[in-house]
């Protein structure tokens, strides 16, 4: 079980919750795959159809940016916190 922290702009996809539990551990990819099963619209706002984390989306595991670790192969231990944060870049002015 890990805790997924959902940004405000995406909470409508999980019924308004800021934090949801995901019953998968292993890697970021496995967690996001499970997100795709339970909340497919949330998953495709985080990853494109090629399965890559979108350019202006950052994913953190226990406070560490997975792009600085092993990307979607980054390990996600039990009881970890996986946080999705839209980048401050990329928005319209």
């Amino acid at each position: 079980m890990v805790t997924l922290v959902v940004p405000g702009a995406l909470r409508a996809e999980v019924g308004g919750a800021a934090r949801v539990e995901v019953r998968v551990v292993g890697t970021v990819r496995a967690v996001l795959d499970e997100v795709g099963v339970r909340w497919p619209r949330l998953e495709r706002r985080v990853r494109d159809e090629a399965g890559e984390i979108r350019r202006y989306i950052n994913v953190y595991v226990d406070g560490e940016d997975v792009r600085r670790l092993a990307g979607q192969d980054t390990p996600v231990p039990a009881r970890a916190e996986v946080r999705i944060i839209p980048s401050v870049a990329g928005g319209a002015g």
């Binding site: 702009a9 995406l10 495709r44 494109d48 159809e49 350019r55 202006y56 990329g90 928005g91 319209a92």
Partner: protein, 361 residues
Amino acid sequence: MTTVLAIGTNKGLYLARSDDDRRSWRVTGPHFAMHEVYAVAIDKRRGTPRLLAGVSSPHFGASIATSDDLGVSWHEPERAPIAFPADTGATLERAWQIAPGPAAEPDRVYVGTQPSALFVSDDGGATFELVRGLWDHPHRPQWGAGYGGQAIHTVLPHPSTPGHLLVAMSTGGVYRTGDGGASWAPANKGIRAGFAPDPWPEFGQCVHKVARDAVDPERLYAQNHNGVYRSDDGGASWSSIAEGLPSDFGFAMVAHPRRAGVIWTFPLTDGSHRFPPEEKCRVFRSTDAGATWEGLTEGLPTEPFYPSVLRDAMCADDADPVGVYFGTRSGEVYASRDEGDSWSSVAAHLPDVLCVRAAEV
């Protein structure tokens, strides 16, 4: 009589509604706040009109949302409506054009995308498939990107001949199919590409918009990146109709929904000087298929005017007389309820207007 005007901007969709034959408007929005709405359509082929919006976000990607209650609520399927198949290696950036199919195919909807591709839906816009015949075209690696990106921005299904369809892209030009999308051929003969070493290439033109004549479906009108053209043979050949306009640059081209030979455009000075000619806010109308043009200004701003009107930010409704609408990159929207003779403001101070579509509902 109710008229709906959908206004897509770079920070959401606004909906204007008039219940008094387009004399006054009530504007709601933004729907999809902080999302770009490059494309919108009002599909009246079924009993309940359907709004379709191409919604995209640099953060969260692009999708198609639909509304069957004129924008009160919106629906987006669990599965991505549009996704490039894995073998293409491509990912959807934006939907640039939503085109309901011909009346005989009420569930068919086409979407032109960035990167340049065509998708087709046979369930009213809930799910789409890539049109492989165009994606696999041998010219595709040579299609370029315009200033706004590489996209198919124009999709014109033939109203009466099944399987016939025309698309236009920047850059790349016009392509046609006569077999339902299995095979495609460029259709740019006579369209000049002044930015290319060979100004008369088979393809590669930067066509900005194509509109189809209401009465003669083989007659087409094109606003090009420098050049305004007409085809009388379904796109096989094109000839200039720019004489009489103050410039041959611009983005929009709109055809009357019922009368032959009536078109509107909003010229800009040049690709390197994207302001209205003489800094005047003017719509130009032809009622003789481009042989002559008249500038329309009644009710429009008279002070120096600098905003652009983008390729889908001008449209006509289907009322009688026809209403004509345009939105600017400075967030102003103007409407005419007399086919362009006079104009009034619908909205001001919106974000950049990317597209407008209007219909009686």
